[in-house]
């Protein structure tokens, strides 16, 4: 089990619905084959209408989140307005490329609502942005979650359906990955509110 991206493990997934978006992540913080805690946060609220999910090396997850938090706070102060999700998506790409020759070992997913329209973007670790798909995955369990997503996903789902589908996809995917799991959290963002649900999953 080599590779810096497999050291801590973890999986994330993001989906678009009808005027809503959902993000889900597992809760494991481990070191190779050993699990340290089961309540590690991997999805962050950057702004009321923007969520950032990160998978990869846990130290870089925390550092990159702190960096993005700083950027958005400074933007709010300087420009005296909220940042648009498409702008933030671009910012993430630039911030990753700034470290082109010493990258953050993370694969981020950005999700947000811009005037009610869902935005979803994913990146590799050096900032190649891809925002064309309706769902994206990241992390060691990503490929297994893809399978479940393809089976359950349909476009323009309601927030309740989306929550159900993303939860099931995350759990099924993590069940086949030894390095992800130990709980799951689902975030569903609509114009009105952000709901956070903690899933009861295999703790093994």
């Amino acid at each position: 089990m080599s590779g810096i991206f497999e050291y801590n493990g973890g999986s994330i997934v993001g989906m678009k619905g009808k005027n809503c978006i959902a993000m889900a992540c597992d809760r494991r913080f481990g070191q190779q084959m050993s699990t340290i805690t089961t309540n590690y946060q991997k999805v962050f609220k950057i702004q009321d209408n923007i969520l950032l999910a990160l998978s990869g090396l846990n130290t870089d997850i925390h550092t990159f989140y702190a960096l993005m938090e700083k950027e958005i706070n400074l933007y709010n102060l300087k420009e005296n307005r909220k940042m648009k999700p498409t702008t933030f998506a671009n910012l993430v790409a630039s911030a990753l490329y700034e470290r082109r020759f010493g990258p953050f070992f993370v694969t981020p997913i950005v999700a947000g609502l811009e005037n009610g329209k869902p935005i979803l973007a994913t990146y590799d670790s050096i900032g190649c942005k891809s925002d064309l798909d309706d769902f994206q995955v990241g992390g060691t369990g990503g490929n297994y979650i893809y399978g479940a997503c393809e089976a359950f996903f349909k476009p323009d789902m309601s927030p309740e359906e989306l929550e159900e589908v993303i939860g099931q996809s995350l759990v099924s995917g993590c069940d086949r990955d030894a390095l992800s799991g130990w709980g799951g959290v689902v975030y569903v963002l609509t114009e009105q509110k952000l709901t956070v649900k903690i899933l009861k999953t295999k703790q093994t």
């Binding site: 809760r27 962050f44 069940d175 030894a178 703790q203 093994t204």
Partner: protein, 275 residues
């Protein structure tokens, strides 16, 4: 008329080199021969870092107590970080009075424990009495020493009942054979030992022993990524072995034990959420 040669029952044959012919007449494939020996030392697996060696990704344990021997195992098989199965049977039923546990290469354990089963039965027929646990484990050790350095991967426990009582042996691919009262084998063994060593007493009742075995395996499956699935429990007593539990899901055990420990929240109580 016969599909074996009756002269093989003669004395001359029992003193000859090992039973390749007899085994073939009993229609069992003969043991693989290593054609050449490596001259460069032991075959390296994962640079020698045992903890990351997924071939030993499992948790199995066994201990001797007043009522006999208890064996408890998990049921997960992993290939790297991919979970290939959650329902593997890691206790191999050699015969009605001998059990073997599987850790390391599944193929190696399955084949050689079946080979051992064959040998035990042959011995029983020839000698009119059952092979002792000590002799059976020593026979397996002999085979594994012969294949030393050729890349076999096995960390098994042989547990059984014979005329002198119930005995537990640990055998591995390095040719080690240890008799003992408490063993745990596999990547999750460190976690299982913590629980096992804390609550083990020789005078435990059967129910207490089963509970301890289940708890130790559960804790290992929770912390170790290469262990999981279900817990299977076997009890060896003077009349052979009994399967106590065929498969208790460790997920259910987690929430059961969490309830007992008072951990019924969502895990975020002690920390400040970042938003």
């Amino acid at each position: 008329m016969f599909d074996f040669d009756p002269s093989t029952f003669g004395l001359a044959h029992t003193y000859q080199k090992e039973d390749k012919d007899e085994i073939n007449t009993l229609k069992m494939p003969s043991a693989p021969q290593v054609i050449y020996r490596t001259l460069n030392g032991p075959t390296q697996t994962n640079g020698g870092n045992k903890l990351n060696n997924f071939k030993h990704g499992t948790t199995t344990l066994g201990f001797v107590f007043k009522e006999g021997i208890l064996l408890a195992v998990d049921s997960r098989a992993s290939m790297g970080s991919f979970l290939s199965s959650e329902q593997v049977r890691k206790v191999i039923e050699i015969n009605e009075y001998l059990l073997g546990t599987m850790a390391g290469g599944a193929a190696d354990c399955q084949y050689w424990l079946a080979y051992l089963a064959n040998h035990c039965r042959t011995y029983e027929l020839k000698n009119g009495s059952k092979l002792s646990v000590a002799a059976a484990s020593k026979f397996l050790q002999g085979i594994l020493i012969g294949y030393k350095n050729s890349g076999l991967s096995m960390g098994c426990m042989i547990a059984g009942s014979d005329l002198s009582g119930q005995h537990l042996y640990y055998i591995d691919n390095d040719g080690m054979r240890l008799k003992g009262d408490i063993f745990s084998v596999g990547s999750g063994s460190t976690y299982a030992y913590g629980v096992l060593d804390n609550h083990y007493r020789y005078e435990m009742s059967l129910n207490e022993a089963v509970e301890l075995g289940i708890r130790a395996i559960y804790h290992a499956t929770h912390r170790d990524t290469a262990s999981g699935g279900v817990v299977r429990v076997y009890h060896i007593h003077q009349n052979g072995w009994t399967k106590v539990h065929d498969g208790i899901d460790v997920v259910d055990l987690h929430y059961q034990f969490a309830q007992q420990k008072g951990l019924v929240g969502d895990g975020d109580e002690a920390k400040q959420r970042l938003f």
